[in-house]
């Protein structure tokens, strides 16, 4: 149960992404006071040689104090064992962020690293930061306002069934896939059935949160060659329950809304940006004092936007 927000700058350049997402999430914090999270797309980091993959950003939950130190040491050792070269590392809040150079299989890397510490995200562009508290609390701990980027999504959470903890918050990264994140408002009622189907095919889940399923489900479709739009269209058929969710990849954001239109979503688009949020009050916070031309997506619909290359 929660509020969601997302923004994409159409010019493909880096803007004040962190600040804009904080503004929007602050506008709907009443929908979820327990925890707040951000999926920030910085644009790709340095590329290692011709045709190689860009350096990968990985963020882990490492805890605090001594626990954090020993976990970070384990992570370093595991990277070395897998042949991943650490380019940069930094501890922030209860997380540690690494930039690594790695050309091997990404799913293997992520499953292996999960054995050392809980991963928040992996991506060439994506960095997920989520923790307990409000948008401003998380900003204070992680300096979100200082992050610039090309697009991103965010989430405020009111925990109803699963625990209040940083890793149970949104956004959810599609474990094993790079650069895919989702935020979700609602409840997936065929969660266990869908999860078992994906687990049988070898996918791992790291929480009991129904929203993680959406991320893995979509990433699997994309990995099989579907366009994001196709994956979203199929998701409305395959997922039962009430949902309004946002998905983001390296270059796109998109939404899907259930056929019962049970959860809110409002959309604003102009020549420069696309912004989507649970409530208009979040969008209006980006443009104080203006009456915006907004639309409410119809039930059972989806759409995507791609940033300029």
């Amino acid at each position: 149960m929660c509020g969601i927000a997302g923004i994409l700058y159409k010019d493909g350049l880096r803007h004040e992404l962190g600040r804009d997402l904080i503004t929007m999430l602050d506008g709907c914090q009443h929908r979820g006071p327990d925890s707040t999270g951000f999926a920030l797309y910085h644009g790709s980091a340095a590329t290692a040689g011709d045709g190689g993959r860009s350096d990968l950003r990985l963020r882990f939950f490492v805890g605090e104090g001594d626990e954090a130190q020993s976990t970070v040491a384990d992570i370093r050792a595991r990277f070395a064992g897998l042949g991943a070269e650490i380019v940069e590392e930094e501890v922030a809040g209860t997380t540690a962020r690494f930039l690594v150079r790695f050309d091997g299989d990404l799913q293997q890397l992520s499953y292996a690293m999960e054995h050392e510490a809980k991963l928040a995200s992996i991506g060439e562009s994506l960095d997920i930061i989520k923790d307990v508290g409000s948008a401003h609390d998380v900003d204070d701990a992680y300096g979100i306002a200082g992050f610039d980027g090309t697009h991103g999504i965010g989430h405020v959470r009111l925990a109803t069934e699963s625990a209040v903890s940083p890793e149970a918050g949104h956004p959810f990264w599609a474990t094993g896939f790079s650069d895919i994140a989702i935020v979700h408002n609602g409840q997936i009622t065929n969660y266990y059935k869908m999860r078992r189907r994906l687990e049988k095919r070898g996918f791992e889940f790291h929480t009991d949160n129904d929203s993680e399923l959406i991320a893995v489900y979509l990433a699997d479709k994309l990995a099989q060659g579907a366009q994001l739009e196709e994956a979203l269209a199929q998701s409305i058929q395959d997922l039962d329950g009430t949902f309004s969710f946002l998905v983001s990849t390296k270059d796109e954001i998109g939404y899907a809304k259930d056929r019962l239109a049970a959860k809110p979503m409002v959309l604003y688009e102009d020549g420069d940006i696309v912004a989507v949020a649970s409530e208009e009050v979040s969008l209006n916070k980006l443009f104080p004092g203006r009456a915006l031309e907004t639309t409410e997506p119809a039930p059972g619909t989806y759409r995507t936007w791609r940033k300029a290359a």
């Binding site: 109803t160 019962l260 004092g289 009456a291 915006l292 409410e296 119809a298």
Partner: protein, 649 residues
Amino acid sequence: MATIDLAQVSVTEANRLIRAYGDQGEDVDVANPDARHHIGVGLTAPVRLRIHGSAGYFCAGLSDGPTVEVEGNVGWGLADNMTAGTVVVRGNASAIPGVAIRGADVIVHGNIGSRAGQVMKEGTLCCGGNANFMTGYMMYGGRLIVCGDSGELVGQDIHGGSIYVGGKVGSLGQDAMLADVEPHELDDVLAFLERWQVPFSGTFKKIVNAGRNLRYARTEPRVRVVPFFVGSERTDYWNAKVQEDISVKAQIGRYRIRGYGATRPLPHLSDLAFRADLTRVEPDPDVVAKVDLRSSLGGRFGATPIELSMPAMIAPMSYGALSKSTKVALARASALSDICDNSGEGGLIPEVREAAKRVVVQMLGGRLGWSVHAMRAADGIEIYVSQGAKPGLGGQLMAKKVTEDIARLRGIPAGIDLRSPSRHPDVLGADDLVIKVEELREATGWEKPVSVKLGAGRVRDDVKIAFKDGFDYVCLDGMQGSTGAAGNEVLEFVGIPTLSAIVEALDALDALGASGMPIMLMGGIKDGIDTAKAIALGAHGVALGTSTIIAGGCIACLQCAVGQCVVGIATQDPVYEARYDVDAESWNIHRYLEAVRWQLASVVHAHGYGSVYDLSRDDLVALTPEAAEITRLPYAPEATGNTLARAVA
């Protein structure tokens, strides 16, 4: 003309100012609304409000008489429950515009979102553009005009009123059909559009109720009276009550609706005992004067608390399920015993308000009999989410009880088998509920306690949500709780026992580290001993329903739904109601409440305590392994406390 700048003041402060200006007859401009929620909520003066921008959820909600113009868009629940007045929106409206309106003209020039006009009773909701999914869902009356396309499932479960669609009619909802538009109706609609300058050319199609689903084919017959305890015998499957159930089903051919709650044996407070040997304490005729039983509810957010002379309330029971005479007797008894009454579903009638010293008004999903005036008249406001007798289901009021008076009060067609909605139009999750609670507080200037009634199902999660969503207290109802009408199987087998419910609720609050949100326990509370045990477990107090009805003459035949209650309690038939002696029964109920008080005081005093809240879990033991497992109290069947009845008798 006054101007309020929402960039400078909070919505709460703005609403206070708007009400003050309204009382002086001054119009108000609102600048920088920026889609904030609750703008213009709770207005009861004919003030004119201009909102220069977009408004959020519940704009002009719970109001009576204002004229509101919005230059931009509005969020969910435009003009929620508006009694009279006008709202004009230049932009679009999000989901459920015109929800539960009871009058008023609501005009949206742009498009409207899903479930427009849900449970509306009267008035006109008009959309210049296109509507969305389930337009007119469960509407009970009034007029819904859509100049553009209707969207899918138009008129889903419509009970009354008319939907006019100028554009394309999508699929028809359940029990909806197309009907001819009479010339005079068309003239009225066109005149309305002209008056509000909504451009339209063309013609309208009309959607109304198809009459397939408003009544059960057969209703429960009145049968020979078999006391409810016959059904509770542990020893035989085939008892008189089971036979009765089968015979009734043989006549009606569906699930059987009956009154009361679970009759089968369940773990309960009677499976607990006091650890101390209270028989050693001499009975004391002045015991009530020697201990403090006073209780207070609802100060968590600065509202005026509900003060109780003892930690007990009258449980919510509707005028509809019960006769007006019974409602008045309960209200009088609650005043005589200086506790608090509850309206139940269907509205707060003036007779009850007048007779009760304190009364809580309940809001249910159908918003039947609900209005800002009822909220203002009450001492507390309660959002009904579910009840112990039938968690997750709505109320049922069979046609015999849906009289003209009840129908008028509730805003529904008379003579239908009323099946109240099981969920709230504007609460589809904990996140929406936060905003709904805020709206209720805005409408009453944050002065009234707001509680939630929860049937015991997933209590752990529900109580955590209740705490986070900002309720003052929780009324928690276990599966022994009774009702005027529900399916027999639901009554017997859905939910968890009262005893389990209170333990789960307190565990949930502990897990959150939460304090300050009392739990009022109900569902099979028989007397002061049960009350003392509930409080010792950690409840703040109890609510008494069935026991008060029995005190007032109920014979527990379980046939409340039939409508021909032989003692005049569960009936709207004047012939039967005439048998109920309001004066006598109000004193009977009052004397019963005083017996509860005396028992409670005796238990407190016998422990050597000065206050009822000195009781704790340490004072209790479990008499059965099952109760021990549920409560984590020590299993001690040898405890002497269960002879308490002798001590205080």
